[in-house]
């Protein structure tokens, strides 16, 4: 890769172009991107937090509403960062406007970083919206700001990369929906959003430890509430490591032109 200062400046402008284009895209279609998670999460807060939660009692030393808020925020971040990149990049492929980028001097690294940043931006914005909505239902206390921010950014980055890889391999719109529906949603629901995995029998608790979302949800819960079912430092290191591996895999795919060049 060319790293001359002049080219670094070009790459920076190109990166900002993709990022601003992505932000413009998801804010322009806010009724499809920002409103649905706000409505869905409000329903979760009302039904699981208020109506059912009041009968469940405490979980992990907190009332049920307080316990599920971190998980639901994280669920929104995961779904939206993934959804943003997979739909935007696949649509770029589908309409062939990806060629606008491929003919330009933009490096593969810049293209990848631009789309990841777009996914992270939407993930964090939706996370903020859901957090603000949760304040109508419960008090929110941030135990460790650094861990909270780190987990959100790492998780949004990881799932943005996941969305990018999905879009690279996708050939039709069905392929874009398969992973979120059949893999992401079950993993998220079984990732300790609604319960502490300590409540599970030993076998299922052990199985849950193979679910990467358990570590993200718990690390985030630790950031907000100060409690976690798993080791937080270990979780952060594992998520960061996995993010790096996924990043270089996506970069390799992009550089060899998988799914985008003949």
């Amino acid at each position: 890769m060319n790293i001359r200062p002049m080219n670094m400046r070009y790459q920076w402008v190109a990166f900002c172009t993709i990022l601003s284009k992505e932000i413009r895209r998801f804010t322009r279609i806010w009724a499809q991107t920002l409103l649905p998670p706000a409505i869905t999460m409000t329903l979760y807060f009302v039904i699981f937090g208020n109506l059912i939660g009041s009968r469940i009692g405490d979980m992990g030393g907190f009332d049920y509403m307080q316990f599920i808020v971190p998980g639901l925020i994280m669920m929104s971040v995961i779904q939206n960062s993934y959804g943003n990149v997979v739909s935007s990049f696949f649509s770029t492929k589908f309409q062939r406007s990806i060629e606008e980028m491929l003919v330009s001097p933009m490096s593969s690294m810049t293209i990848l970083l631009g789309y990841i940043a777009g996914g992270v931006a939407r993930g964090i914005l939706v996370g903020i919206i859901v957090t603000l909505l949760s304040l109508f239902f419960t008090r929110l206390h941030i135990e460790n700001l650094l861990v909270t921010m780190l987990v959100v950014v790492l998780t949004a980055t990881l799932f943005s990369i996941g969305g990018f890889i999905n879009a690279i391999f996708a050939n039709k719109f069905d392929d874009v929906a398969i992973i979120p529906t059949f893999i992401l949603t079950p993993l998220t629901y079984l990732g300790g959003v609604f319960y502490s995995i300590d409540l599970l029998p030993d076998f299922w608790r052990t199985v849950s430890l193979f679910n990467p979302i358990v570590y993200m949800v718990n690390a985030f819960r630790y950031g907000l509430l100060g409690v976690s079912d798993v080791d937080v430092v270990g979780s952060l290191v594992a998520v960061a490591g996995f993010t790096l591996v996924m990043f270089f895999f996506a970069l390799w795919l992009l550089q060899r032109g998988t799914g985008i060049r003949q």
């Binding site: 060319n2 606008e100 060049r261």
Partner: protein
């Protein structure tokens, strides 16, 4: 300085189709170059490789001295591509498409807007700047693709069938615009099915067929290879049989139309003198087909399996 140098370019697709069988080509800076060939000959693959949309199997591409593999960024900055099919986001606004494209080439937003405005005005699209691109007519979409290819001020402009499907008036105005760009020093490479377009615009021409260059020369030398030119004569009075005009082949198409195949060694004065001797008066005359078209068909036929070529 050469704008483009291609050496032994080869491309075999995954389905084992050998689209390019080692073509070499050189286009001088400032040239107006036509790349012709029948459908499936390898034109779009060649352009795809130059514009980094297709991975080559082997060979080298240099753009203004910058190797596309080793000095990719500098090489790509110098090329603007107008593809055959529309490839912009249908839901984006016209101005946004151009500004984003400039951004992809590292041009800061304010400068990008100035350039976008310049080219949108130049190509008559400024009034449509806030329209979604899907709302444009076919001709407008073509002009938008040209504006987009120019927004980063490339030295080499490659156009793949730029006037396909546009009306005659717009085609003429696009020809004028391309001639103006070439006059400003931009090198232009054009593929087209309108051979009249290539003949009237381009100074040099390469013909590609079955993944090989079968001709690469200047337009005048190529046209000089034409040994016989066919003219259609509209007659003032009807005839029942074709007249004898010596070594000139004559066919009576209908009672008022003659076709005469004139060898290069003969001149038209002789043809008219003989017609006058036979008391045949000619009302009007035209070429049977475009001269380049005749040559093109002959070259491509020669290259067919079982044809007379090497």
């Amino acid at each position: 300085m050469s704008a483009l140098v291609i050496r032994n370019l080869q491309k075999t697709y995954r389905n084992d189709v050998e689209a390019l069988k080692g073509i070499s080509l050189e286009v001088a800076a400032g040239d107006f170059f036509a790349l012709l060939g029948p459908n499936g000959a390898g034109k779009s693959t060649t352009i795809g490789i130059i514009s980094s949309l297709v991975n080559k199997t082997a060979g080298e591409v240099e753009i203004f001295g910058h190797d596309l593999d080793r000095d990719r960024i500098e090489a790509k900055r110098r090329v603007g591509v107008v593809p055959q099919e529309f490839n912009f986001n249908q839901f984006e606004k016209v101005l946004d498409i151009l500004v984003a494209q400039a951004g992809f080439y590292g041009i800061p937003a304010r400068q990008a807007r100035e350039r976008a405005e310049f080219y949108l005005r130049k190509l008559g699209l400024w009034d449509k700047r806030d329209s979604q691109s899907r709302m444009l007519s076919g001709g407008m979409k073509r002009r938008l693709m040209i504006a987009r290819a120019l927004v980063h001020d490339p030295d080499l402009l490659i156009l793949d069938e730029p006037t396909a499907g546009v009306d005659i008036e717009l085609r003429r105005s696009m020809w004028d615009f391309l001639t103006e760009l070439n006059g400003q020093g931009k090198t232009i490479i054009l593929t087209t099915h309108y051979l009249e377009e290539a003949e009237s615009l381009c100074r040099r021409i390469a013909i590609i067929d079955h993944g090989r260059i079968v001709e690469n020369t200047d337009m005048k030398s190529l046209l000089d290879k034409l040994q016989v030119e066919t003219f259609v004569l509209d007659l003032a009075e009807p005839l029942t049989v074709a007249p004898e005009l010596g070594d000139i082949e004559v066919r009576l198409k209908d009672s008022l139309t003659l076709e005469v195949a004139v060898p290069k060694s003969s001149d038209l004065n002789g043809v008219f003198a003989r017609l006058a001797d036979s008391h045949i008066s000619v009302r009007s005359m035209r070429n049977k087909s475009n001269r380049l078209e005749e040559l093109f068909v002959r070259l491509v036929e020669r290259n067919l399996p079982g044809g007379g070529g090497q």
